[in-house]
């Protein structure tokens, strides 16, 4: 169950990274389709990332049951840290999208903006916590690698070719 929860968290984070990678790069007013495409791109790339790490995890499982157990312990730790963070972010996002004007601004000021700023620290912190909790070199490398990929995820997505390029000088 825990690995799937972790995969779901990566998918959600990747989708939101897709939004942020595209935000502030297109000066049009009607941006629904633009953001939908960017979020799809983020989700797709995150599925590929999950697939890649799942492949490595399966290889470790086949290699040794100790490796797999350590990975599960690390996954528990990661889900604990990232799950709390994601719950707060998604709650604020829900408030932003369906709440009144004042609640929307408040959720942005209190959660969405500051949490974007600390996201890399939370990812690194969660990965280090999981690595330390696992007490296993292979699992620790796995966790830190996954953290490094997620920290650089938004920047990687921004390297794509969004449609704003024709409108703004590089």
């Amino acid at each position: 169950m825990t690995p799937w929860l972790l995969a779901l968290l990566v998918l959600v984070d990747g989708t939101l990274c897709g939004f942020r990678a595209a935000a502030g790069r297109n000066p049009r007013i009607r941006l629904r389709d633009y953001y939908a495409a960017s979020m799809r791109r983020g989700a797709l790339v995150s599925v590929l990332v999950v697939g890649g790490f799942l492949g490595v995890a399966m290889a470790m499982r086949n290699h040794s049951s100790d490796d797999w157990s350590a990975l599960l312990v690390a996954a528990d730790a990661m889900v604990l840290v990232y799950g709390v963070f994601a719950t707060l972010v998604l709650s604020a996002l829900a408030l932003y999208l369906v709440g009144s004007f004042d609640f929307a601004v408040l959720s942005s000021v209190l959660v969405l903006g500051p949490f974007t700023l600390v996201r890399p620290l939370v990812i690194i912190g969660g990965a280090v916590f999981a690595a330390w909790t696992s007490q296993h070199l292979g699992a620790a490398i796995f966790c830190l690698s996954a953290g490094a990929v997620m920290v650089s995820f938004e920047r990687l997505l921004a390297l794509g070719s969004p449609p704003w390029r024709g409108l703004l000088p590089q």
Binding site: A23, R25, I29, V105, S108, P114, P169
Partner: protein
């Protein structure tokens, strides 16, 4: 950062206010200003702009266009269009009842990329009797705003022009994030010229000065912006923001016969709840109907005087 520091965007664009001709920006002159104020971060932003003696105007335009596009993202997030509509819709209803001339002309001063005007055109549902015009001195920003307007088929217009010398007067002057660019006598002149231009009403939205504004601005500009100039000027804008008292004093002493107040200008121990405020100016005869038209929101507007 200090309130008397100039914003980089103001240093990098030099336009003759009469002829609207763009004047070359000399690196040495900009650096001298930065040196005088000890603006080291600002210096690194300027150093990155190509050009030996004169800063490359195309590179400056690129920086400003990207910065304004990022700023537009913040405008979306903070729902600046919706925020303005809270005041603009009641105001237009009052103008319809008290002004016979049509169309009602709304002019955005220093509109930049024209987010507010284009958003109002796309989503404002202001009615067919309303005309939207955005004015700015920067041809690159106005050029892109007009191009986007045509591409998205919006009913609004943009011009590189002085908003106070239009061939047909504006009924309403708007601005967003413009007031803090003016200080001292310049702020007074800003209100004087609007009053002379004969507007019926003014709505000037800007960052609300508070202890939290610079910190909040820093968080959002670090989290949301990529352009170093946008990050620099965004935080400095919050430092430079005028208190309601300063805005009102300048408006009342130079901008008569209009009467003034500030919407969301009341002091709050938790200023994050209201991060922007709006200076409202009205012809005296419109004051009472406007306050009535605000409905429940009238508690957020101080007394017009």
């Amino acid at each position: 950062m200090r309130a008397d520091w100039p914003e980089l965007s103001d240093l990098l664009l030099d336009v003759d206010p009469e002829t609207l001709a763009r004047r070359p920006v000399r690196r040495a002159a900009v650096n001298a200003v930065l040196e005088k104020h000890g603006m080291r971060v600002g210096r690194s932003v300027v150093d990155a702009i190509p050009g030996a003696d004169v800063l490359d105007p195309d590179a400056i335009d690129g920086v400003l266009l990207r910065s304004h596009t990022e700023l537009q993202r913040l405008s979306f997030e903070f729902q600046n269009g919706v925020r303005l509509l809270q005041l603009l819709k009641p105001l237009l209803n009052v103008l319809r009842a008290n002004v016979t001339e049509r169309p009602l002309r709304i002019v955005d001063i220093g509109c930049g990329l024209g987010f507010v005007v284009r958003w109002l055109a796309a989503y404002g549902e202001l009615g067919d009797d309303v005309e939207l015009l955005g004015c700015d001195f920067n041809p690159a920003l106005i050029g892109l705003a007009q191009k986007l307007t045509e591409e998205e088929r919006l009913r609004c217009e943009f011009r590189v022009t002085n908003a106070f010398t239009l061939e047909r007067r504006a009924h309403v002057f708007l601005s967003t994030g413009v007031l803090h660019h003016f200080r001292g006598d310049d702020l007074g002149r800003f209100f004087q010229r609007q009053a002379q231009a004969g507007a019926k009403a003014l709505l000037h939205c800007d960052i609300k000065a508070s202890w939290a504004a610079p910190l909040g601005s820093w968080i959002f500009h670090q989290a949301r912006m990529r352009e170093p100039l946008a990050r620099h000027d965004g935080v400095l804008s919050a430092v430079r923001a005028h208190s309601p008292e300063v805005m009102l004093a300048a408006a009342k002493s130079h901008g008569r016969p209009l009467v003034y107040s500030v919407f969301d200008g009341a002091w709050s121990p938790l200023p994050i709840l209201r991060s922007l405020n709006t200076l409202v100016g009205l012809e005296p005869s419109l004051a009472e109907p406007f306050v009535s038209a605000l409905g429940k929101s009238k508690a957020r507007l101080g007394a017009l005087s």
